[in-house]
């Protein structure tokens, strides 16, 4: 399959636009000098990923991504940023000074992964286009074959909830403890 064949499919133009948007936002996430901007660019990267999932006919996962990540995780991140640094403007001290070796290493990771997938999968086509996965199948799978992992993941979420509260709670000073007992 030549590049001309590939680009002649309109769905691949959509892929190119979304993929480019994802990569540019991802790049800004790791290079932005402003912490809040980095978190907001992650919204772009995740929204683009949801678009990629829609292209891959995984509608339910796409909306789960939008709800959980853009709806909850980003808000949590912004909360964390607001609480850990009051000045949210430009900051030159966000990155370490050594950048050449990390850049080289990440390039090596990309080349290894991309080369491996090109060698292994060549031009294997994606099976379905246009017919979304029925959510019923997903639900039966989650509560049938994968019911035990599903329950374990639920338990992990509960443990994370309790652990998060316990870690982030401020311990009372002895004086406050006294007041609380006497009240």
């Amino acid at each position: 399959m030549s590049f001309a064949d590939w680009i002649s499919e309109p769905v691949n133009w959509v892929f190119l636009v979304i993929g480019l948007a994802v990569l540019v936002s991802g790049f800004r996430v790791v290079t932005s000098k402003n912490v809040v901007h980095a978190a907001l660019f992650l919204v772009g990267a995740l929204g683009g990923t949801a678009g990629i999932f829609l292209l891959l006919s995984a509608e339910f996962v796409a909306w789960v991504l939008v709800l959980v990540y853009i709806g909850a995780v980003i808000v949590l991140f912004l909360f964390g940023i607001m609480i850990t640094r009051a000045p949210t403007g430009l900051d030159e001290g966000l990155d370490s000074e050594r950048k050449v070796w990390p850049a080289f290493l990440s390039l090596a990771v990309f080349v290894a992964l991309a080369w491996g997938s090109v060698v292994a999968f060549g031009t294997n086509p994606v099976a379905t286009t246009g017919t979304p996965t029925v959510t019923e199948i997903l639900g039966e799978s989650l509560l049938g074959r994968f019911v035990i992992p599903f329950e374990i993941v639920g338990f992990v979420l509960l443990a994370a909830l309790i652990g998060g509260i316990t870690i982030a709670r401020r311990d009372l000073t002895p004086v406050e403890e006294e007041e609380r007992v006497s009240a």
């Binding site: 590939w6 990267a45 959980v68 991140f77 990440s106 294997n124 994606v126 099976a127 998060g164």
Partner: protein, 101 residues
């Protein structure tokens, strides 16, 4: 659509995450980079699901599991960041050298 275009996109996103993980000093930004990497893994899982088209939608099920665990990770991670910031007045990893030798 071929499966490789998605795999290469996810490889690029993963490499960006690796770069951010190594370069950033602020813990919150390191967690953001980890989210990028987990997202790249999700793209891979869903792309393989679309390629193999399994009857039980296995790839998508695992993508949902990854999203769930990532949400738990962010919750715990930010609680730890909050605690560190409260004790040390800083959220930079290179200033947390108490247990280094």
């Amino acid at each position: 659509m071929i499966v490789n275009q998605f795999l290469i996109l996810s490889a690029a996103l993963f490499a960006l995450g690796v770069y951010g993980l190594l370069v950033r000093r602020n813990i919150v930004l390191i967690l953001l980079s980890v989210e990028l990497m987990l997202n790249a893994v999700n793209i891979n899982l869903v792309a393989f699901e679309a390629m193999l088209n399994t009857t039980e939608a296995l790839g998508q099920v695992f993508a949902i599991f990854v999203i769930t665990v990532a949400a738990a990770e962010v919750g715990i991670g930010l609680a730890i960041v909050l605690m560190i910031f409260r004790n040390r007045r800083s959220a930079n990893v290179d200033e947390l050298n108490l247990m280094r030798w």
